[in-house]
Amino acid sequence: MLNTLLKLEHDKLGASFTEFGGWEMPVRYGSDIDEHHSVRNSCGLFDISHMAEIRVTGQAEEFLDYALISKLSEIENGRAKYTMICDDQGGIIDDLIVYRLDDDEFMIVANAGNQHQVVEALKTRLENFPDTRVVDESGLWSLIAMQGPKTKEVLGSLVDVDLTVLKYYSIATAVLDGKDVFLARTGYTGEDGFEIFVEGDPSGVWQLLLSQEGVSPCGLACRDTLRLEAGMPLYGHELNKDLTPFAANLGKVIRFDKPSFVGKDALEQQKHPKQKLFGLQGDGRRAARADYEIFLPGESDSIGMVTSGVLSPTLQVPIALALLNADAGLEIGSEVEADVRGTRIFYKVVELPFYKRGR
């Protein structure tokens, strides 16, 4: 298993670890529910250095318009876009955030577990782009996410740039703890926050950020409950190679107005998938988990499965994302049942996200 450069810092903080995407990552430092609330109410610090960073240079905008499903040529320098890389059958290889650093330069952040698949797929697609380079820089970068309503104020006092003018889904260079870093106003928690790209040893930056008032270290356990409350998909749960973006309700990410891109023909045929992702909310404290089956009330034939489920720390009710039959007649307010280890538990279909921050 791989360790991030912050392993020693996590040990010092008494972290518990879990395997994730081939990495040994902090799952929690103390109580994952306290960590969850610290992100919703104050500021949480995450080591997400397991994520992959891939730099694309040269004829980069034409190449990415071909290799990915969105129109990257359309975004301005310093802006970011959520997108996906699909195979030629339209299956999702990974979901990505792509940052435009310059006219001819982009940085892609991919999931740790998909690093090699994404790099390989991109390199295979380079064939007609001789002047374009794809470089896996995952080994060069540490990534630290600082998330929560106090982040802008805390981080703003430590950097040489005005964070209030850095828009959501933007990226800028800055100096932090004497180091040149990228600050991106992106995240995976449903809160305002920043992701900080640090080259070389990130320990000093980590210690500086953690020493600020109101900042708590946070592990992957709360990252999962936070993103689920925010209705965000997790690769391997809501997204995989057997699903298209349409199944994940992310069809709008696809730009069919591009002349050609990998997966275009296949995706045009799959606009109405057999199963789609729904948000479910229950009551009580028992939560249906991933792979539990869902039924129409009183019925014995399963209409699909939970992909992620938890007792929501913020809402204090069970919530779940579930991949359910599109022809089951479900709409907002429909009742369904989850089989929770032999007991049927009521859920109803709700709008996503489950949680939205106040503006």
């Binding site: 929690r28 109580s31 994952d32 529910i33 356990a221 028992r286």
Partner: protein
């Protein structure tokens, strides 16, 4: 936190306090830490039958579900009702206020001493 010497243990990471014919049962700090923050505890009914190594309850954390095995034969004479409102007591005080059930036991299987349990979990 050390595993208290006055308790007995099982390989399923439960602790048992024997007082006359009543056994109080909980899960160890090791098990509580491994589960993560506990959000829901499903315990058997008072008066129901406990059967050695049969599942008699569930302990859910944010990340996983653990099963509670009856460590011996007997009758359930008490459950920790306070955990309905404060399931995190199992994390906060696993060997005390986080106890789970009381069993009036009819027989006692072989149980581990604290030293043997320490060795099992590598402490």
């Amino acid at each position: 936190m050390a595993n208290p010497e006055n308790l007995k243990y099982t390989k399923e990471h439960e602790w048992i306090l024997i007082e006359d014919d009543i056994a109080t049962v909980g899960i160890t700090k090791y098990a509580a830490d491994a589960l993560g923050e506990i959000v829901y505890v499903d315990l058997p009914k008072v008066g129901s039958v406990a059967a050695h190594m049969k599942i008699c309850g569930e302990i859910e954390s944010t990340k996983s579900v653990g099963e509670l095995y009856a460590p011996m034969d007997g009758e359930i004479t008490g459950v920790n009702g306070a955990l309905d409102q404060a399931p995190d007591q199992v994390n906060q005080d696993p060997f005390g206020d986080g106890w789970l059930i009381k069993i009036r036991y009819t027989s006692l299987p072989d149980l581990l001493s604290s030293t043997e349990y320490d060795a099992l979990v590598g402490e």
